[in-house]
């Protein structure tokens, strides 16, 4: 039993060590040449535009169900007109960043792990190195930059669409006027909330993409290994999103409020 625990500990320590090494290489790559511009632009499209549909759907339905659920509860206090305030605060501070990040973990994290994993098992990563290309610069840095840029943008879109979804429900199901809902949304938001809603996805985007890259580049064991890496990337990134979100929320509360 003890040896199993020891083995697990060793593997975990090795993974952390390799992840830190990747981050170190990433930092060095970020401040020196060459920089592969067209790969970065391509990744902005793959990660950003490619994730738009899923983020729009997630945001809309989350906002809608939030309005539906909270409408009933608020009714008990005669506070139905405040539904917009609740939807906006929840979406901007918490649900928008976290759900967008979870969607990205499922779509982008798994995609990156599968793509890089396939390249590892077919020797394409070694071929890159043999051709004088640093895989971190060519493959990891453009994806991380795209994650850093697109996660906040997608989150803002999800927030907006979520509030629209909540508005549709507020107007059609809860009989709250559109102008009342809109005023309630604006009343419920503070500048600090907006900062929190932007900072969180920035960090979460970084976490998702770096975990996907790390897991993908550590793939071994042929096509089976690629499948394993894809699953690991989604699981690890999803858990990391929730854990990082908790600690980040505590930190931002103490700094911003």
């Amino acid at each position: 039993m003890l040896s199993v625990f020891n083995n697990w500990l060793k593997i975990a320590a090795l993974e952390v060590q390799e992840y830190v090494r990747l981050l170190n290489a990433l930092m060095r790559a970020g401040v020196s040449r060459p920089f592969y511009y067209h790969d970065a632009v391509e990744q902005l499209e793959v990660i950003g535009v490619g994730s738009l549909t899923v983020v729009l759907l997630t945001g809309f339905f989350t906002g809608a169900v939030l309005a539906l659920q909270s409408g009933q509860t608020l009714d008990q206090f005669g506070a139905r007109p405040f539904v917009g305030r609740l939807v906006s605060a929840s979406m901007v501070k918490e649900l928008g960043p976290v759900l967008t990040a979870l969607m990205l973990a499922g779509r982008v994290g798994s995609g990156i792990a599968a793509e890089l994993g396939s390249m590892v098992v077919t020797d394409q990563i070694n071929a890159l190195r043999a051709l004088g290309t640093d895989p971190v610069r060519k493959l990891v840095l453009p994806r991380v930059l795209a994650g850093l840029v697109m996660a906040p943008i997608l989150t803002v879109i999800a927030d907006f669409v979520g509030m629209m979804g909540g508005g549709v429900i507020a107007v059609t199901q809860l009989q709250v006027g559109w102008s009342v809902y809109r005023t309630s949304i604006l009343d419920g938001l503070y500048l600090q909330d907006a900062w929190m809603g932007i900072i969180k996805p920035f960090v979460l985007g970084f976490v998702i993409v770096t975990i996907g890259c790390h897991v993908g580049l550590r793939t071994s064991g042929g096509t089976q290994g690629v499948g394993r890496s894809t699953t690991q990337a989604v699981v690890a990134a999803s858990v990391a999103v929730l854990a990082v979100d908790f600690f980040l929320t505590r930190l931002l509360f103490s700094v911003l409020y």
């Binding site: 060459p34 077919t122 020797d123 394409q124 070694n126 071929a127 190195r129 043999a130 004088g132």
Partner: protein, 283 residues
């Protein structure tokens, strides 16, 4: 000299760096992964313009030698010189400079499956040099013409046959005109006729482009074919014919067994070796 290689062998720094010197030197190189020993004190020298053919069974450590030369893996012990640079302790950044003079053909080709044949072959020139695009296009077309695949330039790797993929991999390795070409099982899994076309490309590169080659294989037919044939160009026409005795001597065989070099010599010496393992391998 055909013989079972003695354990002790010293290569001095002067020998490795001097003019007309060996381009690859392994000096007592060892490597193991956990309990599994891959290489035990492996030493050999490759002279410029010569060909080293590394034979051995599966898991004998043949491909490992190529990865060590490229600096993709680091040895546990021993010294590796490539083009006068000691690569066994070199950083990844410095290794990039050494790799500029190396071309590698991976097992199964390892072509970038999201890039076309043109982009694969010209990858190094497009991405890692400042050469004008026109020049790069010209070089890519020249190289693909040399290996007879010019008409496939805009295809994706998935549209090519196994043999064509290997030949594109050879074209990619030679596009930047490296001094040393490394081939990892270039003909494994190919039918004999296709394998011969790949062998011919390796011979042409060696004899017409003066590339020093290391070929890792367990295909004896291909190994002996490469060692005993030469390419020449007459009035622009390239022909492959049996090589002279001097040329045959420039192709040296190494046999690996259990992480050790158990034979080093030319094709003729290998054919007449008395060692029991060699006889079994050759039979």
């Amino acid at each position: 000299m055909a013989s079972v290689i003695p354990d002790e062998r010293a290569v001095t720094r002067d020998e490795a760096l001097g003019p007309g010197s060996p381009v690859v030197v392994f000096d007592k190189v060892s490597l193991s992964f956990d309990e599994k020993v891959i290489l035990k004190s492996v030493s050999f020298t490759l002279i410029k313009g010569h060909t080293k053919i590394i034979l051995g069974g599966s898991g004998a450590g043949k491909s490992t030698i190529l990865k060590l030369i490229l600096g993709l893996w680091k040895p546990d012990g021993g010294v590796i010189w490539v083009n006068g640079e000691r690569v066994d302790q070199m950083s990844e950044l410095d290794l990039m400079k050494v790799r500029a003079d190396l071309g590698m053909v991976f097992q199964e080709g390892a072509l970038f499956d999201s890039l076309t044949v043109r982009e694969n072959v010209g990858y190094k020139l497009y991405e890692e040099t400042d050469q004008p695009l026109e020049e790069v296009h010209r070089r890519v077309e020249e190289v693909l013409g040399f290996i007879g695949l010019a008409e496939h330039i805009d295809k994706m790797p998935s549209e090519l046959s196994g043999g064509q993929r290997r030949r594109v991999a050879i074209a990619r390795a030679m596009a930047a005109k490296p001094q040393i070409l490394l081939y990892d099982e270039p003909t494994t899994g190919l039918d004999p006729i296709t394998a011969t076309t790949v062998d011919d490309e390796i011979i042409k590169l060696r004899d017409l482009e003066n590339a020093t080659s290391i070929v890792v294989t367990h295909q004896l037919r291909d190994a002996f074919y490469m060692a005993t044939h030469a390419a020449s160009r007459n009035n622009g026409r390239i022909t492959i014919q049996p090589a002279s005795a001097k040329k045959c001597d420039e192709a040296e065989f190494i046999m690996l067994c259990d992480g050790l070099v158990v034979f080093e010599g030319n094709a003729e010496e290998l054919r007449h070796a008395d060692d029991k393992y060699l006889k079994t391998f050759l039979s």
